[in-house]
């Protein structure tokens, strides 16, 4: 069964801005799905429509086969949303936020308390349950939003940039939590600007730009299309000029750091051989950016040049 099925989704805002130009999208049950795109591409509008926060202009949205127009209550009951911005009542305690949320889904108070305890423990917030939420740190507030989204046991969890603005340690712990939630059978749709996050977590991906889906495939098959890797090399001894090696694009940064573009057909062995012949010693090597980032930029640029 499809967790989410979108057909010909269109949205034109007042003033004529066409945010979505007819999107088709399917997300399989149990998937961890990335929905990526630059700012203003239409990601938030798509999620807003799926979550009933934005009124669509045209098209259909089905959540686990329940049509959002014809069977709205049922469709909505499947969804849990973690929005971009903090949107809970900051004058309520952490536990009350979750209990109210459960109440909105018709869950009896006794069961709601059990669910809230489970979610708060899972998010390592149980000790903060009686704290007024405005006193929490930014990372904790993010986790409260995830706990709130999970309190009614949704089948589809939508995470709209859940780790924006949180430090790397919290981000990594949130990744682990998301993996656990997905492993428990919950379908997850993730939007993020941290492409490393999408690459690490998601199995399938759609890229949206200018209100259209420009790519929709498995993460692994998308990454397989990457034909250039970018590396940063720290040199043991400074050099005055970037070495010129046929088949590689090399830039010198400062006097002891090289940025190298390595085509897939060339490989690193040849590069190291050439560098050794030039008496250039490499002390360390790392990927300049994650692989998905480069693909993402290529696809967006390609789409923009086609639309130009």
């Amino acid at each position: 069964m499809k967790a989410l099925s979108i057909r010909n989704l269109q949205k034109t805002y007042k003033g004529g801005i066409q945010a979505l130009k007819g999107i088709d999208l399917d997300v399989a049950e149990g998937d961890f799905f990335a929905l990526l795109g630059p700012n203003g591409a239409g990601k938030s509008t798509t999620i807003g429509i799926v979550c009933s926060l934005v009124t669509k202009t045209k098209g259909t949205v089905k959540i686990f086969d329940a049509d959002l127009d014809k069977n709205c209550g049922c469709a909505k009951s499947y969804i849990g949303l973690v929005p971009q911005e903090i949107n809970f009542n900051q004058f309520e305690t952490v536990q009350d936020i979750l209990l109210n949320q459960a109440g909105y889904y018709g869950i009896p108070r006794k069961q709601a308390r059990k669910n809230a305890e489970k979610c708060l423990k899972q998010m390592q917030l149980w000790g903060k349950r009686n704290i007024v939420s405005r006193r929490l740190s930014g990372g904790m507030k993010r986790r409260v939003m995830i706990a709130r989204a999970l309190v009614h046991n949704p089948r589809l969890l939508i995470l709209d940039e859940p780790t924006a603005g949180v430090d790397i340690e919290i981000r990594r712990s949130m990744w682990q939590l998301m993996r656990e939630v997905n492993a428990g059978g919950t379908t997850i749709i993730l939007t993020t600007h941290y492409l490393e996050e999408a690459e690490n977590l998601c199995r399938n991906i759609a890229i949206i730009n200018h209100g259209r889906i420009v790519e929709n495939s498995r993460m692994s098959s998308l990454l397989a299309r990457l034909n250039v890797d970018y590396f940063v090399m720290d040199l043991a001894r400074p050099v005055s000029n970037a070495p010129e090696i046929p088949g590689f694009v090399i830039e010198l940064e400062g006097d002891s750091l090289l940025n190298v573009a390595v085509p897939k057909e060339q490989g690193l062995n040849q590069l190291f051989q050439e560098l050794t012949e030039r008496d250039i010693q490499v002390s360390s090597l790392k990927n300049k950016s994650n692989r998905l980032e480069q693909l993402f930029l290529d696809l967006i640029n390609q789409d923009q040049s086609q639309n130009a």
Binding site: C51, L53, T55, G73, S77, L81, E85, G103, Y104, G106
Partner: protein
């Protein structure tokens, strides 16, 4: 989906909100109305004499009580629902499967609860100044309930359209308060020149105050049936309009 649980969740949240901040919500009307009773009822009222065989204090008590019910039913919903929009936790409700009528019922019931609670506080204070034995307590309570329902609905509509905190104070300050004062709280419309009596009959609050006064002390400037018809009519119209606004997402959805 259990709508009753969803409704009680919103209602309980609303009641907890205004009782938690009781120095802002319940205390001020107690002080203000004590001053009304002291200045208008006791000091000035002794020189005014009787209206419809009631002392001036007895005459103004129902109006002051209902004026408090009106302003606090309205204020509770308009401030709470607008804050919900402003802080964006309206999204919690919009994402959830709660039907629109349950959202409306929850917020309006919260407004009714505050209106009636403030009305009870003011009624309690009035007992320090005069002894009123309700002529028809059931009628008075029913009028208070209908009036608080009507103004809680009006507050909800104001909050839906409001796009700033200024917008939620314009109607209470420039429409509601003048209409309440001109609705015969402190005087009988029969004391006005004929032309002003006719103009006063266009003020819906006049009917509610007089119906409530009739329930408490048995006197009224207007026809009680007309008061019920008018209030019921307004309630029905405002419920339909509120549900229409929620359905269309006016002021709450893009």
């Amino acid at each position: 989906m259990n709508n009753w649980i969803a409704f009680t969740t919103i209602f309980t949240k609303e009641v907890r909100r205004f009782t938690r901040i009781w120095p802002q919500t319940l205390l001020p009307p107690a002080i203000t109305t004590s001053l009304y009773f002291l200045i208008f009822g006791t000091l000035i009222g002794q020189r005014i004499g009787k209206i419809y065989d009631a002392t001036y204090m007895e005459f103004i008590v129902p109006g002051v009580i209902l004026m408090s019910v009106i302003s606090h039913s309205y204020a509770n919903v308009v401030s709470s629902f607008y804050s919900t929009k402003f802080q964006k936790h309206i999204e919690e409700l919009l994402v959830s499967p709660i039907p629109n009528w349950v959202i409306l019922a929850g917020y309006v019931s919260g407004g009714i609860a505050r209106g009636l609670m403030v009305g009870s506080v003011v009624a309690g204070i009035s007992l320090f100044f005069t002894d009123i034995f309700p002529q028809n307590l059931g009628l008075a309570l029913f009028v208070a309930l209908m009036t608080s329902t009507l103004f809680a609905l009006a507050g909800f509509i104001n909050a839906v359209f409001a796009d700033s905190f200024d917008a939620i104070s314009i109607i209470p300050n420039f429409i509601l308060t003048p209409l309440s004062y001109l609705g015969g709280v402190f005087y009988s419309v029969s004391m006005l020149p004929e032309i002003w009596q006719k103009i006063s009959l266009l003020n819906p609050i006049l009917y509610m105050i007089n119906a409530f006064r009739y329930g408490l002390i048995g006197v009224s400037d207007v026809n009680i049936q007309m008061a019920f018809i008018m209030t019921s009519g307004f309630i029905v119209v405002l419920i339909i309009f509120s549900l229409f606004l929620l359905h269309k997402g006016v002021g709450i959805k893009n």
